[in-house]
């Protein structure tokens, strides 16, 4: 009898844990909202990256390979870009301003490239260049992942800076999940860290490891397409696409293995299993994960007082369900999730502008500004 009760208790526990996994807390869709939106830049099919020079001047990447400079609502194409290899999910991806941009006019870009001139596809590259008005010059290739691949998937990529003179960028597993993410001697499935001039920081975690790619900062990632720096802690936060289920938010730490594809909360698109493990020794658990997947792209914290009650909340675009997700975090836990601008379209990116407003890159629409109702 005692044994039976124990079995019953255990099955209850297992059932509870099993049920508790589905994207808790449940996402809320508010019935009334005190905000609306306006389109500030239109005519950009896939506005992948966004970087503000000032409140009314910004750069926007169009995935097909165009960099737009927008000033006072006037949109012009920037000339002098490096050659861009467009295939599948690859093309012109993120853009970011050097922390001293106002003085040196340097910008950084990640993009699909075939710099080798071979017929073997492409891989993600990181470039910098000097921007004068709408002319880019002094282009430098700071990093080129290899080998090239004709696979269409998982190029990353986002760029952020810490306050210690480093830049971080991401590259996805390039559709080669069983080979790239867990192998430090190979590119792909990694977060990378460089000095602002493109050199390798001496204290990068794998500089003394034989055969390792020295630019690698963390590994075991699938396809990180969102990254931001926490406004208070200065930590690098990242989100990445899982397969079917298993999208993740991770706080990026030096030298850590985030587990893909050895551990995951997702399964194959076809419904078959990738691994039965969701946890393993020496592999980091995500800060948060989604089952089912939302298709997370850009990521930003709100730090301003523009929106009532949103300060310090985390915002992540959902490509799949076509909304912006607002996550309230208390004591290192997600305690509330809410849909913002439900059904707006595929949200590719979200950035907090210098004016404290949130700007979204929405596919087929362009750049959308969230405006509080007065």
């Amino acid at each position: 009898m005692k044994k039976n009760i124990l079995t019953l208790l255990i099955s209850f526990f297992v059932l509870q844990v099993g049920c508790a996994q589905e994207n808790t807390p449940m996402i809320e869709t508010p019935e009334t909202t005190n905000y609306t939106y306006e389109i500030v830049v239109d005519g950009v099919d896939i506005p992948w990256g966004m970087a503000f020079i000032s409140s009314n001047e910004l750069l926007v990447t169009e995935k097909s390979g165009i960099l737009y400079h927008i000033k006072e609502g006037v949109k012009s194409e920037v000339s002098g870009l490096p050659e861009i290899y467009v295939r599948g999910q690859g093309g012109l991806l993120d853009v970011a301003l050097h922390p001293d941009f106002s003085k040196n006019k340097i910008i950084y870009m990640t993009l699909g490239a075939n710099t080798e001139g071979n017929n073997k596809g492409g891989n993600t590259a990181m470039y910098c260049g000097t921007l004068n008005g709408t002319q880019l010059s002094d282009i430098k290739l700071l990093y080129k992942a290899g080998p090239n691949s004709k696979k269409g998937q998982h190029w990353g990529s986002r760029i952020v800076f810490d306050k210690k003179g480093h830049l971080y960028f991401t590259i996805g597993d390039r559709g080669n999940r069983d080979v790239n993410p867990q192998d430090l001697s190979r590119d792909g499935g990694k977060v990378y860290r460089l000095n602002l001039d493109g050199s390798i920081p001496e204290d990068n975690p794998f500089v003394n490891k034989a055969g390792a790619k020295e630019a690698v900062f963390s590994y075991g990632h699938r396809n990180p397409q969102g990254m931001t720096v926490h406004p208070k802690t200065g930590e690098v936060w990242e989100n990445e696409h899982g397969p079917r289920g298993g999208d993740e938010i991770n706080i990026i730490k030096k030298g850590i293995n985030y587990g893909w594809p050895k551990i995951t909360y997702g399964i194959n698109y076809s419904g078959t299993t990738i691994t039965d493990k969701t946890a393993a020794p020496n592999m980091e658990q995500p800060f948060y994960y989604w089952v089912p997947s939302i298709g997370p792209s850009g990521m930003a914290f709100s730090t301003s007082n523009v929106y009532k009650g949103w300060k310090n909340n985390l915002f992540i675009g959902s490509l799949k369900f076509e909304y912006l997700e607002r996550l309230v975090i208390k004591k290192n836990k997600v305690v509330k999730r809410e849909k913002v601008l439900n059904k707006i379209g595929r949200v590719r990116n979200v950035v907090e502008g210098p004016d404290g407003y949130l700007y979204l890159g929405v596919e087929g629409k362009g750049i959308v500004k969230i405006v509080p109702r007065s």
């Binding site: 099919d45 896939i46 995935k63 097909s64 290899y85 467009v86 295939r87 599948g88 690859g90 093309g91 696979k151 269409g152 998937q153 559709g175 698109y269 076809s270 596919e363 087929g364």
Partner: protein, 138 residues
């Protein structure tokens, strides 16, 4: 002399076959299946049924079968704006995937002969190369 001539012609035949390898339709469909997995499946799904109102179906699609060259143009150059598929209006964006002409021919042969679809056509790279941008979403 005659032997030499025969030898010459035969080796010429081998050489040209080597230089312009022609896939059979079955081989093209197999190659197209791999392209489909990589570039198309995420939206049009493994079943080819798409998502109603968002991503148009390829399975039993009237648009596909009635607009072969426009469908090629859509894959080749990207497709934007309204199209009607099986009486449902779609107004999304399919961006160009960067596939070469042969890959587009392969994936066309695959989708025209998968999920119960069936076509007598055998599309090749030359046909794809000849499709102009002006044919998008006629």
């Amino acid at each position: 002399m005659r032997i030499l001539l025969v030898f010459y012609l035969v080796s010429l035949g081998f050489l040209s076959a080597k230089l312009t390898p022609q896939k059979t339709k079955a081989e093209s469909i197999v190659a197209g299946a791999e392209i489909y997995q990589d570039f198309c499946l995420q939206c049009h799904l493994a079943s080819g049924e798409g998502v109603s109102g968002v991503f148009p179906p390829l399975k039993n699609s009237d648009y596909l079968f009635e607009n072969i060259n426009s469908s090629i143009a859509g894959i080749k150059y990207g497709l934007k704006g309204e199209i009607t598929v099986n009486d449902e209006v779609y107004d999304g964006i399919m961006v160009t995937q960067g596939l070469d002409d042969e890959e587009i021919a392969d994936v066309m042969n695959y989708i025209l002969n998968q999920w119960g679809n069936s076509s007598d056509l055998f599309i090749n790279a030359q046909q794809v190369a000849a499709v102009p941008k002006s044919l998008i979403a006629q």
